[in-house]
């Protein structure tokens, strides 16, 4: 397996080695070693929970800087619908699109527009025969990676349709090539304005099998601060917004599934909730469900860690922006079939960190873990650098740490030592007393 490029990283100088991120990581990918957090890249799913909870801002999202705009002759902005929810008192998306042009982009291709196409393809896809139901949305890259590492049996349920950002990148590039035949492919830069680090990982790791159509990934927050000053200078923007209610609604949890027009759906958001749903779906059958939308962030994409606004305020703003938009202007008169270019290969199961590739060896290690666990206090305090006593026992057996790191165990050792020392002192005092008499 090639090395997975992550978009969540650590500023070692700021990390104090506390246990906030350790305890919050849903895949137990973090350990504290030598007083600093250490992320296991095989286990990390780029959900950004550690960025959210770090009190010292030591965990950060990695994305491309605005300066990368200078690397391309023809620059296309691909704004995530979440961007629209960041602005106070905004009643017209045209201001954002005009602002992006004024900021230096040659073209703007709304991801919300591509989202409408994906919604239409999803409806068509659900009509196919012999599909393994419920079909799970492939839009949130955290969920896709979570399923591929942990839910082998659900890989087949993940919809093999490209997420809107990828479709937007492809269509935007084709449009640019058609309108500007003088441009070389390398002159065109597609810049996704992303709410979260997971989408950065998606692009950098070529999720879709081949190279992504997105070249650089900017953060909503970086773009926001620059864009807002350009937007303030606009009196009346050019009419240019092409997205409808359906596309813009993708920013909010439930937006994608409600627009599939099929009431047999489930939408869950927040990584802990999502895990519980996946565990349950994995264990039983749900004939009543056709479609499942899962978002790693609370509230959906508006809850991403690379945004500015409070997710619930952003959600309220998106709702009011949606009010006067047409329903789905990009799918009028569409042909009722899913084009090949939006299909991707079936998701592959990629197990992470088995104890050993040899079953006998793995069984022996598991037995050792059980033995060690008996002596651990089950406090899950995290002082040893592992999130739970169970994880600590596993780390010991894997040879990554030693039992002395357990403070409860060491306290007992210390008490025993003191007790022995005191007994010896008393014994010696008694001896001296006897010698004197």
């Amino acid at each position: 397996m090639t090395e997975y490029k992550h978009s969540v990283s650590l500023d070692v100088s700021k990390c104090k080695g506390c246990t906030h991120c350790l305890k919050r990581c849903p895949t137990e990918a973090i350990r504290i070693r030598n007083g600093k957090a250490d992320i296991n890249s095989e286990k990390c799913i780029d959900c950004g929970e550690c960025i959210r909870v770090c009190p010292y801002k030591a965990k950060k999202a990695v994305y491309d800087p605005l300066e990368t705009l200078n690397d391309y002759k023809y620059k296309i902005a691909l704004p995530a619908p979440t961007l629209y929810g960041q602005f106070d008192n905004l009643d017209d998306i045209d201001f954002i699109i005009q602002g992006l042009h004024d900021m230096g982009f040659d073209d703007v291709y709304e991801v919300a527009k591509a989202a409408e196409l994906v919604t239409e393809y999803t409806r068509q896809y659900l009509h196919r025969e012999n599909l393994k139901k419920p079909v799970i949305s492939s839009a949130c890259p955290v969920i896709v990676r979570l399923i591929s590492t942990r839910f082998p049996y659900l890989c087949e349920n993940v919809m093999p349709i490209l997420p809107p950002v990828e479709v937007a990148g492809k269509l935007a590039r084709e449009k640019a090539m058609a309108e500007h035949p003088e441009l070389a492919a390398s002159d065109i830069g597609c810049f996704f304005i992303s709410p979260c680090p997971a989408k950065v990982s998606y692009v950098k790791n070529s999720f879709a099998g081949e190279k992504s159509n997105v070249d650089e990934v900017l953060s909503v927050s970086d773009v926001y601060f620059k864009l807002v000053s350009y937007m303030n200078k606009i009196d009346s923007p050019k009419e240019s917004c092409e997205a409808g209610m359906v596309g813009v609604g993708w920013a909010i949890a439930g937006g994608e599934s409600t627009s599939v027009f099929n009431d047999r759906y489930l939408a869950a958001d927040g990584i802990e909730n999502v895990l519980r749903v996946l565990d349950q779906i994995d264990n039983s059958e749900f004939p009543e469900l056709e479609f499942i939308e899962l978002n790693a962030c609370n509230g959906g994409c508006v809850g991403g860690v690379m945004t500015v606004a409070n997710p619930y305020i952003a959600k309220a703003r998106i709702q009011s922006l949606k009010r006067y938009l047409p329903v789905s202007p990009n799918t009028h008169g569409m042909k009722a079939e899913v084009p090949d270019y939006v299909m991707m290969p079936e998701l592959e199961y990629q197990p992470t960190c088995p104890l050993s590739t040899n079953r006998k060896e793995a069984m022996r290690m598991m037995a050792d873990i059980q033995e060690i666990r008996k002596d651990l206090p089950d406090l899950d305090c995290g002082s040893c650098g592992a999130p739970t006593c169970a994880a600590f026992a596993e780390d010991i057996v894997r040879g990554e740490t030693c039992a002395d790191e357990c403070v409860v165990f060491m306290r007992q050792v210390f008490h025993d030592y003191i007790a022995r020392h005191q007994a010896r002192m008393a014994e010696e005092a008694e001896k001296r007393k006897n010698e004197r008499s």
């Binding site: 942990r150 049996y153 565990d279 349950q280 994995d282 264990n283 039983s284 088995p354 079953r359 069984m363």
Partner: protein, 141 residues
């Protein structure tokens, strides 16, 4: 019995519906770490999940022992519930004695025991009215 055998013990809490299925999730995690195939993991997880739910609905909880051997995985689910009056009837799809309040939660569809049988290679039920029930299931590796 080979010395490679590993045993896990779980207590299933009868008061708490929301935690039913927790032991199954835990076993799934350990089987993954041991490198079992997705198919084996799923069969064990489903059979155990159904068993856990049954113990919560009918028997006020119980215990689960999971034994992982070289050739098979054995699950022993024991409870001190009311026992099963007619095992043959209980094995029929759609037959359930669950009360309405349980059904309103989406359980009690009468698929628990049939599914446990369907997903395992061997299943034995030992039951005595007023004493309790033990279900022993095996999944071949």
């Amino acid at each position: 019995m080979s010395d490679e055998m590993i045993r896990f013990h779980f207590d299933v809490d009868g008061d708490d519906f929301s935690s039913a299925g927790a032991a199954s999730v835990e076993v799934k995690k350990r089987l993954r770490q041991l490198g079992f195939s997705p198919d084996v993991i799923r069969r064990v997880a489903i059979a155990m999940y159904e068993g856990e739910i049954n113990m919560v609905i009918h028997a006020d909880g119980g215990t689960v022992e999971v034994e992982i051997g070289d050739d098979d995985i054995t699950m022993i689910l024991s409870d001190h519930g009311p026992g099963i009056a007619n095992v043959e009837l209980a094995m029929q799809e759609g037959y359930s004695t669950a009360r309405d309040n349980i059904r309103s939660l989406g359980f009690g569809a009468g698929m628990g025991l049939p599914n446990m049988k369907k997903y395992t290679d061997d299943m034995k039920i030992e039951t005595e009215i007023g004493v309790g029930t033990t279900v022993i299931m095996k999944v071949n590796v």
